[in-house]
């Protein structure tokens, strides 16, 4: 006797990796808020000259240190008030978004590029290559990162570009360590052996076979580094070693406003708030990415 087997209707199609990722990412409300804020910041940076009410460098000599427009002494022309030389703070903040996002992006790209190559070499070849590379990374990590960045900027000369190089150097060991560990965990797996047997060269094995399988943690680290880069660049600007005045970089704006903190708190409040909002948005995205990309958390 045969029991008729009814075909089971499969209503759930296998979901693609990207859709699965989005599903887990969008469950996290904070991550969605972060992503929205970040998107607004990017748009603001791109269209800064169109959105900003004034040029960031024009000085209105009749309106020095004006409080925000909602204050009794405020000037309706300047929504967030003006700085000690009469520049519109809102316009400077909008233009400043360009610097911060630019810094974050290029520092992460630089640190990622160098860190991934060094980490992949160390993890893949092992032996003395590993020892040399990782000891150099240990040396970089032994110095407090801001102190090392400061000394590097002192050597290279103060300025935004040199600050970015210094921060990238300080951040890249984290990528190198992460990639090395991931490559070491992957390199003896069967799919790698299979690729090796079919004649794949070292470069192909490293970059095409192994690396895509370590992407999750790298993306999360890249997000973290993005926010760290913005904070460190602002800190260097604040200490006078980053972007130089009159650049409307947020940290530099804080530095030039410092002496007025008690007389005109708004010159200090808004640039810092801009840094905080940007960094917070990126960290919220980072938390969401970690939840979405970490298979251990996902299934539980």
């Amino acid at each position: 006797m045969t029991i008729p087997v009814e075909p089971v209707a499969t209503t759930t199609k296998p979901i693609s990796g990207l859709r699965e990722f989005w599903y887990y990412f969008s469950v996290n409300r904070g991550a969605l808020i972060g992503l929205t804020v970040f998107a607004i910041l990017v748009l603001m940076a791109i269209f800064a000259p169109l959105i900003a009410p004034y040029s960031p460098d024009i000085q209105y000599r009749d309106a020095l240190l004006k409080p925000p427009s909602w204050d009794i002494n405020g000037d309706p022309r300047f929504f967030l008030g003006t700085d000690p030389v009469g520049r519109d703070i809102l316009s400077r903040l909008i233009h400043g978004a360009r610097y911060s996002l630019f810094i974050g992006f290029f520092v992460v790209v630089g640190a990622l590029f160098v860190g991934v190559i060094l980490g992949a070499l160390a993890g893949y070849f092992g032996g003395w290559v590993d020892v040399v590379i990782m000891r150099i990374m240990d040396i970089i990590l032994a110095f407090p990162s801001l102190l090392l960045a400061l000394v590097l900027v002192a050597i290279l000369g103060p300025g935004l570009f040199n600050a970015m190089i210094a921060i990238a150097i300080v951040l890249q060991p984290h990528f190198a360590r992460l990639v090395r560990a991931a490559v070491m965990a992957e390199k003896n797996r069967e799919y790698v052996t299979a690729a090796k047997l079919s004649g794949a060269g070292h470069l192909r094995l490293m970059l095409v076979t192994i690396l895509p399988n370590c992407l999750g943690p790298i993306i999360v680290q890249a997000t973290l580094s993005f926010s760290n880069a913005i904070l460190d660049a602002a800190a260097l600007g604040f200490l006078g070693m980053g972007a130089q005045p009159p650049t409307p970089e947020w940290g530099t704006m804080l530095a030039t406003a410092r002496e007025f903190i008690l007389k005109a708190p708004w010159v200090v409040t808004f640039p810092g708030l801009a840094i905080l909002i940007t960094v917070l948005a990126i960290n919220l995205i980072g938390d969401g990415l970690r939840d979405a990309l970490d298979p251990k958390l996902k299934r539980s």
Binding site: G30, A142, F143, P144, A234, V268, V279, L280
Partner: protein, 335 residues
Amino acid sequence: MLNFVLRRIALLIPTIIGISICAFAFVRVLPGDPILAMAGQHGVSPERYEVLREQFGYNLPIWQQYFNYLGSVLQGNFGNSLATKRPVITEFMTLFPATVELAFCALFFAVIIGIPAGIFAAIKRGSWFDQAAMGVALTGYSMPIFWWGLLLIIFFSGYLGWTPVSGRIALSFFLRPITGFMLIDTLLYGNWPAFVSALRHLILPAIVLGTIPLAVIARQTRSAMLEVLGEDYVRTAKAKGMSPRRVVNVHALRNALIPVITTIGLQIGLLLGGAILTETIFTWPGIGKWMIDSIFKRDYVVVQSGLLIIALIVMAVNLIVDLLYALINPRIRVK
């Protein structure tokens, strides 16, 4: 265990050599001439310049300069500051207690708030407290601390007038240092008003420096606690009918705290770095401000030796944390 300790220390030796080379090399490539920097605005005659170059050994080949430097460092001689002419190690020892005191108070602040907040957030997972605490923690983690310091100054010093803006103690108190830690010294002298003054000076910098560690500790405690609360032995304890308080305090907390202790240890190294910004904002006379000032003054000897000393301290702290971790968690030692 001894084997493990020795192996960890042996691993550090190449790193220490590398650090000393870096500190030495950084200063050689800094723009400007150390002798001209030392001479200041008055300048120096060419003959005198040569004499000084010879006296400080700048005329020797670079590798010989390095070995001379290493030799004197090993004898405890880190050179003299170009600006004050005092030995670097003496300056360091007078300023270091200020940084340690600040870092210790910051860490204390972070731990007494961070750990309970993390525990409650984990126990009440998904509640409004959990969400609020983790929201605050993420904000703290994202905080530009130099701005945070300025905000606190605006509010507490400017608006309310509760706390002083800078320094370690009011100028009217002069106490010869005993331990170098202002809170302890004032108590040893029995000078209560001085103690209060020191405490008022310390509170804002400690909060500022402790904010990021607080956020990290709270987040780490929560996730470690959540992991442990899902373990079988916690379920068993609950099933046996233990009170929830006992389950948390006796079974869960002890195991959850292991990774938290490591996190706290790693924060100590970060605190020494974070002190640069905090000390600058509050004009706190510690090593962070000392290093910044020396970088600006191009005091090469201080930058070089300061970098070396700070890196060595960070490494020592990390080593101790590693060893403690191995001590409380035997699984690490076997690896």
